[in-house]
Symmetry: C2
Subunit: 452 residues, 2 copies
């Protein structure tokens, strides 16, 4: 705010320009809050198609739906960009069962982690050993041999930026299985990465290290984790695990792209969107149906208001963010190959929640210019332009020097729903979703007008 005020005092013409910009931005928000189809579009994606893990029938349906949607809005060009994606399938529902403990047998709310191998129909039965994090496994060494390692590291509830707390806690999910396998563990169970205390397990991707024996990985709900931990304080606990998941051959899928061609610099691009794939539970409403529908809406707002951009603005639905990032990588590769110069890319992948700002990654002078627009967003509740960041799918574009921007919604509610059966349409608020779309459209308007 201070920076803007100082600039305005010394160069009053900029103040006039900003005032005309504020009129256009007001029109963008008014249109989004009054006439936007974004909420109904998300309802369709969630309720008629549902979840859409890469390679699944749902993902294929979502490709067709979003292509048709952008065609129905009469975007100048709508096309599919082929990309081979991993195809992981969960199979029959998992079993996580305490078979022997001081309190007797007990079912625990559990779910296989994405990319994990299955136990097969015979399952795995073993004693459980609890650890607080990855370091403890190395300390225990041979003591974990033949056992199921239970990673019970919590997500810190006192950290206000919940994505930071998530980042601290997620390592055990991503890498815990291979770490435990090095010392002979039979399987791993992870405490769900959430600050909520409930009985819904959270899935998410894990990775196997090369040359390390692969063992199955599960998550259990935070309530189940507390129960298991309590029992382990009283006595030895044996658990039976069963999962039928497997990674199959890669399959053909698509990034879905729709654009309005630029009137002056059509070979300069500004991309906006989210990832079309989701986990195979719930409806992927916040993660990331919201970001996809907001990306399309950001472009539709230009058409609805008859704003003709100088550059080409593009809505992109990237495929396979959750368990491979193939779509984001292929998009950047093709952009490089065909010399599509992306001056900026904006991703919305933190839920369809109340926007409070934008993150950004780029050279200092561009970040400074970007932040100077902050005051224009203040009337709409966006005040935080201070954090670095962008989005997983647009990350690969940094190789060609693209300025990366992430829509930043308030993060307090996000990890209630993240990667669970609870990530459904009903948890998204219409106005919050609309405000996110309008914010991205307004940012594109400024980037298109002034460059970066």
């Amino acid at each position: 705010m201070r920076k803007f005020l100082i600039v305005a005092i010394f160069f009053p013409t900029i103040s006039f320009t900003q005032s005309s910009d504020s009129v256009v931005i007001r029109q963008i928000y008014d249109e989004a809050l009054s006439n936007s189809p974004v909420y109904e579009n998300l309802r369709y994606l969630c309720k008629e198609i549902g979840h859409r893990l890469s390679g699944s029938v749902g993902a294929a349906a979502a490709v067709t739906y979003t292509k048709q949607l952008m065609e129905s809005y009469d975007f100048d060009t709508v096309f599919l960009q082929p990309v081979m994606v991993p195809y992981w399938v969960r199979g029959k529902k998992e079993i996580v069962r305490i078979v022997d403990s001081k309190a007797g047998p007990m079912e625990l709310a559990g779910i296989a982690l994405g990319n994990s191998i299955g136990t097969g129909p015979d399952g795995i039965r073993a004693e459980v050993i609890e650890v607080g994090g990855m370091e403890e496994v190395a300390e225990l060494g041979e003591k974990v041999k033949g056992k199921i390692v239970f990673y019970n590291g919590p997500m810190d509830p006192t950290i206000m930026q919940t994505f930071r707390a998530y980042g601290n806690a997620v390592r055990q999910r991503a890498s815990g299985a291979s770490e435990a396998a090095k010392y002979g563990a039979k399987a791993v169970i992870i405490r769900s990465i959430t600050q909520s205390l409930d009985d819904t397990p959270h899935t998410g991707s894990m990775r196997y290290q090369v040359n390390v024996h692969r063992i199955p990985a599960f998550a259990i709900s935070t309530k189940a984790a507390n129960r298991l931990s309590d029992l382990l304080k009283q006595s030895q606990v044996e658990v039976y695990l069963e999962s039928h998941c497997e990674m199959r051959e890669d399959v053909l899928s698509y990034n879905v792209i729709g654009q309005i061609n630029g009137s002056e610099n059509p070979d300069e691009y500004i991309a906006v969107g989210g990832h079309l794939d989701s986990w195979d539970v719930g409806e992927g409403a916040h993660d990331d149906g919201s970001g996809c529908m907001q990306g399309i809406e950001a472009v539709r707002l230009f058409k609805a208001l008859n704003i003709s951009p100088k550059r080409t603005i593009r809505a992109v639905m990237w495929m396979n963010e959750e368990n491979g990032l193939r779509g984001g990588r292929e998009y950047a590769r093709v952009a490089e190959e065909t010399a599509e110069k992306h001056i900026a890319a904006i991703e919305s992948d933190r839920g369809g929640l109340l926007p409070v700002g934008f993150t950004s990654t780029g050279p200092d002078e561009k970040v400074e210019k970007f932040r100077s627009w902050g005051p224009l967003f203040r009337p709409y509740g966006l005040y935080d332009f201070s954090n670095p960041g962008g989005g997983a799918d647009i990350g690969p574009l940094s190789q060609q020097g693209t300025f990366l921007i992430g829509l930043l919604p308030d993060s307090q509610r996000y990890f209630r729903y993240h990667h669970t059966a609870d990530d459904v349409f009903e948890t998204v608020d219409r106005r919050e979703l609309e405000l996110g779309a309008a914010s991205m459209a307004a940012m594109i308007y400024l980037i298109d007008k002034y460059g970066l």
Copy 2:
């Protein structure tokens, strides 16, 4: 922010003080985010007691529950303050039915407005005439005679501060019946005051003018309002209305009060809380179970952290905000009578949603002091201290010069739930609720330490 920085430069000792304050405030938020029972307390109020309109069994149960809860936290003094309240009962479910239109008969989602008289078992059948607002009724004059006036003024979706949009739209609900009755209307139907487009009607209080014939008043859902309006464009429409509500004799109820006595100035008070009554649909989760539970939690946080206040800090559950404000008036009257000097009062009555700041009402120099604390709240997402306001229940305290403060949550989601069957526990987020309680506790800490 700038003001604070300037002060800090000229008086470095203040900067040190603020730094020690920031440590205490961090402890308050950490405790609320880690160990708070506020969410479980709200669950009990909503799920075990439910709605609690003044005079009802639910209201009586809520009085007992909140008294026992504060006793269980070992507050120094917990007591009930008697107050006579209106006792309005809805009776058998209302009927709002199109009986004659081009599209045939049709039920509309409707609900009687609070304080309205009923139609009685014979109901009212009449032609409907639509108006956009109160002014149009006077313009139509005799044309409304014998008809049902349908107020279809919408709540403006483009206004970011939704309480302002509500304020603009609510006049037709509060005063529309008497205005229409002056010209001989038989009854009124109001478009629900919400920006949502759905099939849930919103109740809320209405008032009859003295010496004007009383006619029944209903609200219908926004979808029903659109349907009715569409039909009226095509042909004459007749509607049948039936309601069984009535205002009974005043009954005895209570404000519920619990406090920690001040160690240095026990005769100076800082009050915090919300209103315990709710409408008789839903669970009054956001309106205002959240504010009540946050008020108790704000005081509990002092005990949990062993912070001994200089002044007496008091959690207050005011009774009868919704349809009379008797509790707030009686509280201020007793405070005046017994010379309880309230230096400040904080109300949370805008939902258990993400706190973004505080409103305030008082003399300029106090407002300035209050705003100078803003930077201490910035790490917790509170950035807006600019708006006037307080809360309905604490308003009467302004007569004794009390500085009035309102917790200000983001308002985008509030009017989805307000005064409906959808205002239930599940729509409240644990972290947002906790942050509101912590914010009020931190503000009380500063007021207690530095005065106002």
